[in-house]
């Protein structure tokens, strides 16, 4: 595959991540275009498709973080006003705080990291989170931002941030359990 074809093939995956974070198609297109331009300017920076994609994603992350910092508090994220507003979430636990159904172990999860389909399924599960949960989860786990930075940027309390991350992780593990491991829990 030629360099230009490789770079063109990165456009859609990068755009998807940028959109999820920025929630603005124009801004997302801008950061992806800047990322692809940066790749074209240094075509010899990396060899091999996997490394190239890693390199491109790294550039994109920096650009997304930069845009988020500039936008700062323009972005309003509604905080959770309590921990008991989500019936599906609450149904995971009995009144005494124990699991309604014991979550089973995932069998050989590390092997799934070698499978493209696993990451496709994971993306589908992320897409099923509410936009605010998906955004905060991606800020923490994909952009690897510290919670303090996320709180400042989104103008929410640390406790709210922790609650949202907890809910996002619980929903994702439930989705992955169901759609990858075939568990109902």
């Amino acid at each position: 595959m030629s360099l230009h074809a490789e770079i063109a093939a990165l456009h859609q995956p990068l755009l998807r991540y940028a959109r999820m974070q920025l929630r603005n198609d124009g801004l997302a297109e801008d950061v992806v275009s800047e990322t692809l331009l940066a790749l074209l300017e240094k075509p010899d920076a990396f060899e091999g498709r996997s490394a190239y994609r890693t390199y491109a994603t790294g550039i994109l992350k920096f650009k997304v973080i930069d845009v988020l910092r500039k936008r700062g508090r323009e972005v309003h994220v509604e905080p959770f006003d309590g921990e008991s507003i989500d019936d599906a979430f609450d149904a995971l636990f009995a009144a005494d705080g124990h699991w309604q159904e014991a979550p089973p172990a995932w069998q050989e999860p590390e092997r799934s990291l070698e499978q493209r389909q696993f990451f496709e399924m994971l993306q589908v599960c992320i897409d099923r989170l509410s936009p605010k949960l998906a955004r905060i989860f991606m800020m923490r786990e994909w952009l690897e931002r510290e919670v303090a930075d996320i709180c400042t940027e989104l103008d929410i309390t640390a406790n709210n941030c922790h609650v949202m991350l907890f809910r996002a992780r619980m929903q994702l593990r439930g989705c992955v359990s169901l759609h990858w491991y075939g568990d109902t829990q």
């Binding site: 994603t57 790294g58 014991a102 999860p109 990451f119 994909w142 941030c161 922790h162």
Partner: protein, 66 residues
């Protein structure tokens, strides 16, 4: 003399497992969590799964298989 803090239930334990991925938890909470997870297979599973999701997310879009 102060009373020992109550043991965690699974809901509290799962929340603390998540919190510990983002910030240091108080020593006392960390000890209560360890005691709970030592005895609770379900929460051990959930802990392993939350840590695994982090590893997967760090690979997403970079060296994830094409």
């Amino acid at each position: 003399m102060t009373a020992a803090p109550p043991e965690l239930d699974c809901h509290d334990a799962a929340r603390l497992i998540s919190d510990a991925l983002d910030a240091a938890v108080a020593t006392e909470d960390g000890e209560r969590l360890r005691r709970h997870v030592d005895l609770c297979e379900s929460c051990r599973n959930v802990s392993a799964q939350m840590h695994f999701l982090r590893r997967a997310m760090r690979r997403m879009g970079s060296d994830a298989p094409q």
